[in-house]
């Protein structure tokens, strides 16, 4: 129960929770308080002094509203409500004074500053400052620091708000930035100017209220006011972070986070933020057909003709389709309808061979506790998951819960730095059975906790014995009380943005179908919808059609390439690991002759003689929503049933026999070997390549 406190702000009486600061109370009353160091998601520093207000009955001087709680203001002598003022001459003078101080050493380089136009200092100097300064002395000069390939520093501009220091320490979980020196000589830097290693470091660019920390890849390329802004959804991981794609013309200039409390709060990972240069390189901008062993540019007609020839030359059960990790629900639906109408059941959206199956119920492959639900969890067990690399933003949410304390975390799998402390339980299946049998003490911790939570990663599922492990984990979840109507603590952590949508669609082999690995080896005609994460060394000699945006592994092994649109170039639906249906919007057009993937499939279906029954995206969606109503519930989660997981758990014993032999003894290993290079767009990005080589070198240096 939240206790409420009443107070008056500028004479207006309001009631706010009593843990609020005065700044938050003033916001609640509709008064804007300028601030630099205060940030809702970081600890209070109280060092910029911009948020000064007048407190009635307090000491006769302005008070920093960010550091003073609602509980700290005293009522009047006769029990009047405590009162604060934000519009008195004292406050005005205080703001002007603070602003003048801040600007003593701040360079007047707004015309060449990348923060110009979206700068807190600029805006607040206009709103709360005075027109000139009384200081004629030289401004201080600070050496710029190297803190990595992503964040550019211009340290003359720093006003020492320490938001970046607090972010890396508190949210990032790794103390990389610090404020060295003191007074006028204080400087923000990393230890000896080493590059930052956090996967969330790009967020300090957004946090920096001035132009001291700016985006290095975006430097000097555009002004914020000349960019078109499109709200969309990220596809780099299965979290589905809310993003804003900033474009100039048809070129994506940068990607920024949007606030979505349920998913990413206001953070995004570096891969999400800095991927955009990969959208400009290695693009497939025209159809290609392989002639005499070499891919040659062709027209759409020639490409479709080649496909028609190949399809008509084979039987239906030798035709298959694999959907990649970035595909949207719409194009997977179109591809599924096309393959079905060709008479084949060879479909798979699980390139990595993960043992998830929609026939086990939707709850069996969702992150059921939800990302926001992590904050309610009482204990956590990670099975074969490395959320730091597989879902960096979700990892920040786990760390947020961890920082509140009383949150035991156990890990089965790889013992890596997850940015929070955990108990390492073991590497593989044996540890899981020890936990289940009660031989391991961490099982009691989970049983004793309110709302215990289990995260099963792809590292545990993309193995031959994955189905048995999934069942064992489900059984264990039931035995520790993680499965009830109020709390479903069993979560599968996905790494691919398309995966849950594909499973929802039933984009898996039918009764007579074969899975992705077998399709790659044995199909006569194989459609790859942006599928690049396959082991192409095992590819058979069949005719391969690649539909996708980037010239990556899939395109290299294709016989026909149909150029598609990347995720910023199409309107599409993606379902994140929680099962949340989200729609991304088109920020620009695909290059050259490339088209949106669903349109390619629609045109191809006409050539093949099985015309798909829609001519526009709305028509496709209405068909889709008819067949799968939950896709119409945008931004909502159609929750899975707890009973599905309980049923899945009951299969745990029986499955060892009928699966491929016994459970393997080898340890769980995360599928993500290189955080920065997980998909074709990232592999085309120079920035990601630089980050990747830096991370590899750091890893080597740490190992030595």
């Amino acid at each position: 129960m939240i206790k409420m406190a009443k107070l008056k702000v500028d004479g207006k009486e309001i009631e706010v929770p009593d843990h609020f600061t005065l700044l938050q109370a003033c916001e609640e009353a509709g008064v804007e308080i300028p601030r630099f160091c205060f940030h809702e998601r970081l600890s209070v520093a109280g060092n910029c002094r911009m948020c000064l207000i007048e407190v009635k009955g307090g000491p006769p001087k302005p008070a920093a509203s960010c550091a003073m709680g609602v509980r700290d203001v005293r009522p009047g002598p006769n029990g009047e409500l405590p009162e604060v003022f934000t519009n008195t001459p004292m406050v005005k003078k205080a703001r002007e004074g603070v602003m003048e101080f801040l600007l003593i050493n701040h360079p007047l380089d707004c015309p060449i500053c990348d923060q110009g136009g979206e700068c807190d200092l600029q805006d607040q100097a206009m709103a709360f400052g005075i027109d000139s300064s009384r200081y004629t002395e030289n401004k201080r000069a600070v050496e710029d620091k190297y803190i990595g390939p992503l964040v550019k520093t211009v340290m003359n501009r720093c006003i020492h708000c320490t938001r970046c220091v607090r972010f890396t320490t508190e949210v990032g979980g790794i103390s990389e930035l610090g404020l060295i020196g003191r007074g006028e000589d204080a400087e923000i830097t990393t230890y000896l100017e080493h590059a930052m290693t956090s996967e969330l470091q790009g967020n300090v660019i957004d946090l920096c209220p001035v132009g001291a920390l700016t985006s290095r890849p975006f430097a000097f390329t555009a002004r914020p006011w000349e960019l078109g802004k499109t709200e969309s959804i990220d596809v780099m991981d299965a979290v589905g972070s809310a993003i804003r794609v900033d474009t100039r013309g048809r070129e994506v200039m940068r990607i920024m986070p949007r606030v979505n409390e349920q998913v990413n709060e206001e953070w995004i990972s570096d891969k999400t933020r800095f991927i955009w240069d990969g959208l400009k390189t290695q693009r497939l901008d025209r159809p290609y057909v392989r002639r005499n062993g070499r891919l040659a540019a062709a027209t759409w007609g020639e490409a479709f003709g080649a496909i028609k020839a190949a399809v008509s030359a084979t039987s239906a059960n030798k035709i298959g389709a694999i959907a990649g990790d970035l595909a949207s629900v719409e194009e997977m639906y179109a591809l599924k309808e096309l393959i079905r109408s060709l008479g084949s059941e060879n479909l798979d959206c699980r390139q990595d061979g993960t043992a998830l199956d929609p026939s086990l119920g939707r709850a069996s492959y969702l992150f059921n506790p939800t990302i926001e639900g992590i904050e309610q969890a009482g204990a956590l067990l990670l099975i074969g998951a490395n959320p730091r690399l597989e879902a960096a933003v979700l990892n920040a949410r786990i760390r947020k819960r961890f920082r509140r304390g009383n949150f035991p975390i156990g890990v089965i799998g790889e013992a890596t730095d997850l940015r929070y402390a955990y108990d390492y339980l073991g590497a593989g299946v044996d540890t899981l059975s020890d936990l289940a049998s009660g031989a391991h003490s961490f099982g009691d911790v989970l049983r004793g906790a309110k709302n215990p939570m289990i995260i099963v990663g792809q590292g545990a599922l993309m193995r031959p014995d994955g189905a048995a492990i999934l069942a064992a984990a489900a059984q264990f979840a039931g035995s520790i009380g993680a499965l009830s109507e109020e709390w479903n603590g069993f979560g599968v952590l996905h790494t691919a943005a398309a995966r849950v949508g594909g499973l929802d669609l039933g984009f898996v082999p039918g009764a007579n179908g074969v899975n992705a690995a077998d399709m790659l080896a044995g199909m006569d005609v194989l459609f790859l919808l942006g599928a690049d994460e396959l082991d192409f060394s095992r590819k058979g000699s069949g005719f391969t059609v690649y539909i996708g945006s980037h010239g990556d592994a899939g395109a290299h092994h294709a016989d026909v390439i149909l150029p598609g649109a990347a995720y910023t170039e199409k309107s599409g639906t993606w379902v994140n690991t929680e099962g949340r249906v989200q729609v991304g919007n088109r920020a620009g057009f695909a290059p050259g002759e490339a088209r949106e993937d669903w349109a390619i499939l629609r045109a191809l279906s006409d050539v093949l003689g099985y015309k798909l029954p829609f001519d526009s995206l709305p028509a496709l969606r209405s068909k889709l929503y008819q067949a799968y109503p939950h896709f119409a519930e945008i931004d909502e989660i159609a929750a899975g049933s707890v009973n599905d997981i309980a049923t899945l758990g009951q299969r745990a014993g029986t499955q060892r026999g009928d699966q491929k032999g016994e459970l393997s003894k080898s340890g769980f290993a995360s599928p993500i070997k290189d955080f920065y290079l997980t998909n074709p767009i990232a592999r085309a990005s120079a920035v990601m390549a630089e980050c990747s080589s830096l991370a590899r070198n750091n890893f080597q240096a740490a190992a030595e």
Partner: protein, 312 residues
């Protein structure tokens, strides 16, 4: 003070470790702090590392960080914040810290620094040619009574003259610093007066006043209240005998009438002050504090003595 950075790589030793005695001491120091607060030992440990090596090396920072399970940057923050931590090599035989705060400065700290400039190096925190000496200016060391003073390692040398400081520097340079007695370098004990005590020279006998019988209240002589503590206003305009528009309303009216009748007469000696809203010339009551000439005497704060106005 200037920007403090770690020393250049060529000065940095390859590694740092506490010697045996210091390692034992460090463990004991860390144990002083409650469980989970061991990182609070960072300042004592860094100081001990400085005492061991003479200055805080990069390896010492990393050693302390590892020992306390802290990120390197957090220890670097502490080491760069406190100017007591020397981040560059200082003189091997002596690092002279000259107090330059006001009392020492008034008593000749500038001259001491001139000696250091002359004998050691022109700039503070630089080694002399042989690397044995260095100096810097520091803030108050708390020996203002014995100003001016310097500190070498943990000893203070007080009541210095430039000549005496030269001798001290020479002694340290020669490795005989321990032969010099720390403390005042003149004939005085600690901060006692030079040449012996100046007050309380004779033996003081206790006087027990409370043994005498109390005087009765009736014996107390009746005394009128005094105005000994009151401020005496001797300003000419406060003279009580001067007539004001308040004390002499009739006279004032007559003068105003005269002024209105004959505006060009010599009644108003000065032009009315344009800044004041009204002046006596226009018949307005005088503004408090707006005194110009004898016409508008200021009312004294205290009404001293009787006045002869009828309005009393």
């Amino acid at each position: 003070m200037s920007v403090r950075r770690l020393a250049e790589d060529q000065f940095q030793p390859a590694m740092f470790a506490f010697n045996e005695e210091n390692a034992v001491w460090a463990e004991a120091t860390i144990r002083k702090y409650p469980e989970g607060r061991q990182q609070s030992a960072v300042i004592p440990l860094l100081m001990r590392a400085q005492e061991q090596d003479g200055w805080v090396t990069r390896s010492a920072i990393e050693y302390v960080a590892n020992k306390l399970d802290m990120p390197f940057i957090r220890v670097l923050e502490v080491a760069t914040f406190y100017t007591q931590f020397q981040l560059k090599p200082v003189g091997t035989r002596a690092h002279i810290q000259v107090c330059g705060t006001t009392p020492c400065m008034l008593r000749g700290a500038e001259d001491l620094m001139e000696v250091c400039r002359h004998k050691i190096h022109h700039d503070p925190l630089e080694l002399n040619a042989s690397g044995t000496l260095s100096w810097e200016e520091v803030e108050c060391q708390g020996a203002c009574v014995n100003a001016p003073m310097v500190i070498v390692f943990k000893d203070a040398y007080e009541d210095l003259t430039p000549e005496r400081l030269e001798e001290i520097i020479d002694a340290f340079e020669a490795g005989k610093g321990s032969e010099i007695k720390p403390g005042p370098q003149v004939d005085r004990a600690f901060s006692a007066p030079e040449g012996g005590p100046l007050t309380l020279l004779e033996e003081v006998k206790p006087v027990r006043t409370n043994l005498e019988p109390q005087r009765g209240a009736e014996e107390a002589a009746p005394m009128p209240p005094t105005d000994a503590g009151r401020a005496k206003n001797v300003a000419p305009e406060a003279d009580a005998s001067i007539k004001t528009p308040v004390t002499d309303k009739e006279g004032a009216k007559a003068r105003v009438k005269a002024a209105q009748d004959m505006p060009l007469s010599a009644t108003a000696k000065t032009d009315p002050d344009p800044k004041s809203p009204g002046s006596a010339v226009e018949g307005a009551p005088p503004e408090p504090g707006s005194v110009s000439g004898d016409l508008k005497p200021k009312r004294s704060r205290k009404k001293a003595g009787p006045t002869e106005g009828e309005d009393k």
